[in-house]
Homo-oligomer: 335 residues x 2
């Protein structure tokens, strides 16, 4: 089978590609080709695999060609992140909304020509949740919590969830939307996401660098390891429609944890000297954004698919340390 | 002040325009101009008012010019109806989604140029609600019920609600979304909406014509009179942001009523001979669509704005009969 991973050179996308290549199969079929579409070039280890093909450039530019290409499955991860979307409103609409619609229309075009609908997993985000004056947000958000996005990024993710639902209802795709929790520990440099510090306060100290935590230690947040996230995306892809249940998005599993607990785990894994490289310096802008995020999430539908969060944050840190030893992009974080 | 009503030649739009012209003011300001944008020409009585200007053609074609036009307030009612959107997927996306975005972008363009954000009321719909395998729909939907649209029309309305919310958050508009209940009694001919019979079973018998009800008499549904709907749109426009509450859409008031109760009211108002012109002949397609609709709605936020549904359906029928005597388009239903 031929798969397309948009955002396939990114952190989650590349890990997903590696995991799929290692498995060799998806949905019980041999994976013969993985197309990685991304603005950036794919990591060298992926390019070295004969099954991998890359397409570099904006997703929007690739969609026209996709109208005439047989693709069996899509993991649609490409996205401008929250900070970028706040800074550049048009960029967010183009990268997240127009690109998704062009992708869905390319898949629809093939179905209108007689093809079997492609399976598609859309990576949505816990950022669809937030408080609204008329609708207080529960501290723990569930699959059935009313979304009230507080950012353009969250709005665009929610809109795309509903496009995926409608293209699925019409039979143009077999689509599913999975809401990613904050994935940590991310390698590399801080990105434009307000959640970037959730990785920074672990990654930087481990690399011998000081890190500033812009929120108080009591802040609680739903996180997930990269590997559990990737496993979640694959399980959602492989689920039958009945097991997925309906057309609305589901939450991926979350470890609900405070910053203080994250740092205690860091000390447990790497010692007090490493933990002491984190200092607290409140950033009102970031603290204000984070105050509107849920303190935790529950993922009942994902649990019914057999998906679980990491048991504890120390395991997430150990996963990151192991990654640094084996994957090239993780090492950048230790520079 | 200068107002734009998209869909301004339609049934609700024209009634809204008439009501506004009669009031003469909105938000405490004199109405100096009402622009009616619509695919169809506006009714003659509106054209005769010196304050009225019409623009005929697809909304999308008007939006470019709107970028350079000062408009103080917008009632955005233009929409392809549910049946059309199901039959022609691209039409729905273009008429409901692309047009709304182009309208919002035109308003944003002016704000970026220094203008005060225009107030905008978006007419969403009770069609955003529906059952999903993972989320059973409550029989009575409220302002905080999780939307799960069952049609492309409902999906597009929901998406536009969230665009309006985000453009508002960014300060590009002062936007509010109000979910219209099924407006009845509509004059004229049946339209492409699956809900068309909710008007037909009253309108046709009153005009001496037989009418077929495609669902069983027990079917319950949230309806509203045209006048209450128009009053709701105006109240939502005039509400302060604090009174509106948050950025999510609110439900307009509904009279929750069964088909049997509607027909009993018809008999009460017009006599048994008129009521007997309705016969029941189940249409599986329509009955299937209607089975996915809520049986009623509650409108707590609208109630807090002082809005109420009609007290009973007989009053709605009397309103229709009075309309037939005074407004030219209503008379078409009696042809």
């Amino acid at each position: 089978m031929k798969l397309l991973i948009t955002g396939g050179a990114g952190f989650v996308g590349a890990r997903l590609a590696r995991t799929l290549l290692q498995r060799g199969t998806l949905d019980g079929r041999a994976i013969t080709r993985i197309v990685l579409a991304d603005q950036a070039a794919a990591p060298a280890d992926l390019l070295a695999d004969a099954r991998v093909e890359t397409r570099v450039g904006p997703l929007l530019a690739h969609c026209e060609a996709l109208r005439d290409e047989a693709v069996d499955g899509v993991f649609h991860l490409a996205s401008a992140v929250s900070g970028e979307c706040e800074a550049d409103f048009d960029l967010g609409l183009r990268s997240n909304l127009d690109s998704t619609r062009a992708l869905l229309d390319a898949l629809r075009h093939r179905v209108n020509g007689g093809a079997t609908p492609a399976k598609l997993v859309f990576s949505s985000s816990v950022a669809v949740f937030g408080p609204d004056d008329a609708v207080p947000m529960p501290p723990i958000v569930t699959d059935t919590t009313l979304p009230a996005p507080q950012t353009s990024y969250g709005i665009q993710k929610l809109i795309c969830e509903h496009l995926v639902a409608d293209y699925t209802r019409k039979g143009y795709i077999d689509g599913r939307s999975a809401r990613l929790m904050t994935v940590t520990v991310r390698p590399g440099r801080p990105n434009g996401a307000a959640s970037s510090f959730f990785s920074g306060i672990i990654r930087e100290p481990l690399a011998g660098v000081e890190s500033v935590c812009p929120v108080s230690p009591e802040v609680s947040h739903p996180v997930s390891s990269p590997q559990r996230t990737v496993e979640g995306l694959i399980a959602v892809f492989e689920a039958s429609r009945a097991a997925y249940g309906g057309r609305l998005a589901l939450n991926l599993p979350a470890l609900n944890i405070t910053v203080a607990q994250m740092l205690a785990a860091l000390e447990e894994v790497a010692g007090p000297a490493v933990r002491e490289r984190v200092r607290f310096e409140r950033d009102e802008r970031i603290a204000g954004i984070v105050a509107n995020w849920p303190t935790g999430a529950r993922a009942d539908r994902a649990a019914a698919l057999g998906l679980k969060p990491e048991a504890n944050f120390a395991d997430i840190i150990r996963q990151y340390i192991a990654d640094c030893a084996t994957t090239p992009e993780a090492l950048k974080g230790l520079g």
